[in-house]
């Protein structure tokens, strides 16, 4: 720090102080909470509940974040329409599959088959929307400067939001409740909402499945090859355009599945539902180091848990009431901090520098 003052490097000094203040605040709040009991008193079970709800929220972020990271990996582009891939599948599956199946009683009689049908529909629609977006809006811009597809992505995001609003209206649509998922499991003395448990388990299975797909299958290896060098990948006989489309579809399938899980937890869907989870998942992808698949998964889990535990822990410790409404503030503060101080992410590699 002394060196920075001597060199007159005031900007990095200010940034350094800013970071120190944030860390001190978090530490102060945590200590005040844990050792001096500021704010509400929480039992161990309460903390476990915060953790579990954070974990379940985080696993949704993780699933969505994979789409950002996969696409960034192959195109170095932030696909801002990804939140809409998430929304489109769920909304369609809710209206055309979940609600009719629920009304006819099919969903409660055969919940597993019912959920499968909902999932397949949601994932297919999300994939279709993604493939269409890639083909029409992104592929023609492959050789354009990087900012161009970024702006197009924002346009695509608006397009799909209003397209689906036109299809399904702008009011909240209830996602049916499954009888089998009412109530709680008790695991090691901690009660967990069944829906949350299902979300966590289903997400983990998909995360592992995706990792296997990318690391072990021929198509997955081709995706990684295209991410490294498109010309050389083409020299290997890899159809680069097709592989990029598959990458979009893979990310969208994860998002579509995440959307159904989201419906299970929050029990309502709407055309604008993709926006906030989309940005949160983007934050998670950046946290984990965009371009890195394990990074996106860990970043998502970390963000979900941090959001859930942060408010009762250090926000209350700092004497800030109603902390739970501030969890978005925590997430976005974290995004800004990471972008300023560690753009390569917390666990990610120095992608930005290497590719630049």
């Amino acid at each position: 720090m002394l060196k920075q003052i001597r060199d007159g490097d005031w900007i990095s000094l200010v940034l350094w102080l800013f970071r120190a203040v944030v860390i001190l605040l978090v530490l102060y709040g945590t200590v005040a909470k844990l050792f001096f009991g500021v704010g509400n008193a929480y039992s161990g079970r309460d903390w476990a509940n915060f953790f579990i709800s954070g974990l379940s929220q985080g696993s949704l972020y993780a699933l969505i974040a994979l789409g950002y990271t996969l696409v960034y990996g192959v195109l170095f582009m932030i696909n801002f329409a990804h939140g809409e891939f998430f929304m489109s599948g769920t909304l369609t599956a809710t209206v055309f599959v979940a609600l009719p199946l629920s009304a006819s009683g099919f969903l409660d009689r055969t919940p597993i088959i019912g959920m499968m049908l909902i999932l397949i529909t949601a994932m297919s629609v999300s994939m279709g929307v993604a493939l269409l977006t890639e083909r029409v809006a992104y592929r023609p811009l492959r050789r354009a400067p990087r900012l161009v597809p970024l702006i197009t992505a924002i346009g695509a995001s608006f397009f799909w939001q209003y397209y689906f609003r036109g299809l399904f209206g702008s009011s909240l649509i209830p996602f049916p409740e499954l009888q089998v998922l009412q109530g709680r499991y008790t695991i090691l003395g901690v009660e967990i909402l069944k829906t949350r448990a299902v979300v966590i388990v289903a997400s983990l299975i998909m995360l592992v499945g995706l990792y296997f797909f990318v690391m072990r299958t021929k198509t997955g290896k081709a995706i990684r090859a295209v991410a490294e060098d498109k010309d050389v990948a083409a020299l290997m006989g890899i159809d680069v355009d097709r592989t990029i489309a598959i990458t979009f579809a893979t990310g969208a399938a994860m998002a579509g599945a995440a959307g159904v899980l989201y419906g299970l937890v929050f029990r309502q869907v709407v055309f604008s539902m993709g926006f906030v989870p989309g940005i949160k998942a983007f934050t998670a992808a950046v946290l984990g180091g965009i371009g890195s698949i394990p990074g996106a998964a860990l970043g998502g889990l970390f963000l979900g848990i941090f959001e859930a535990i942060g408010p009762p822990l250090f926000l209350e410790g700092l004497g800030i009431p109603g902390g739970h409404q501030l969890k978005d503030v925590i997430a976005f503060t974290m995004l800004v901090l990471v972008l300023i101080f560690r753009p390569q992410g917390i666990i990610g590699e120095r992608l930005a520098e290497k590719k630049a």
Partner: protein, 237 residues
Amino acid sequence: MALLEVHNVHAYYGNIHALKGISLTVQEGEIVSLIGGNGAGKTTTLRAISGLLPPRAGYITLQGEDLRRYKAHQLVSKGVAMVPEGRGVFARLTVEENLEMGAYHRSDRTGIAADMKRVYQLFPRLEERRRQLAGTMSGGEQQMLAMGRALMSRPSLLLLDEPSMGLAPVLVEAIFQTIKEINKAGTTILLVEQNAHMALQTAHRGYVLQTGEIVLEDSAHNLQQNPVVQKAYLGID
């Protein structure tokens, strides 16, 4: 009919006219080398042949078939493989995964396994490093990997772009030895080099490229004796 025929090819990067009417032929079984200074258009010629930079005028045939209708990734199954300049290994894939990518268009599992064995015989070093990330290998090892990977597609025509670049003299000898072996085993080779000395010793015939045009064409032996070539590319006055 020649294996490869390049007919009066013009290629551009935007407005830059990089190839100004190149014609060359490679006969089946030959090693042909293309020499020239920096920026002469050697890499561009290979990119045109492999489909990465389609010619704006002129055309290229492989066994008489016009290649204009194919994209780069479709040419691999036609028998064209290329080791790009700077090797182009996939740094974050393992050695074995890199080799698998070389066989991407094939689906004959047993054939692929046999070819991988052959590559490991040719470059035992690669077998020791099978599970290592390609990016962590030395320059020489990466060159071996890039060549092995190209062989995995069972090419009839192998395009090599400066295989000796950045290698120690001992390794350069070894690489050119391997190039001869690959050729003896039945693969036709078009070799681009700045190391004209080694290239002309290895090749049967050669072309000299200068600012996008072919200025000389002869047997490798005659080119080595040619005073112009000696002065400009072999450092002999």
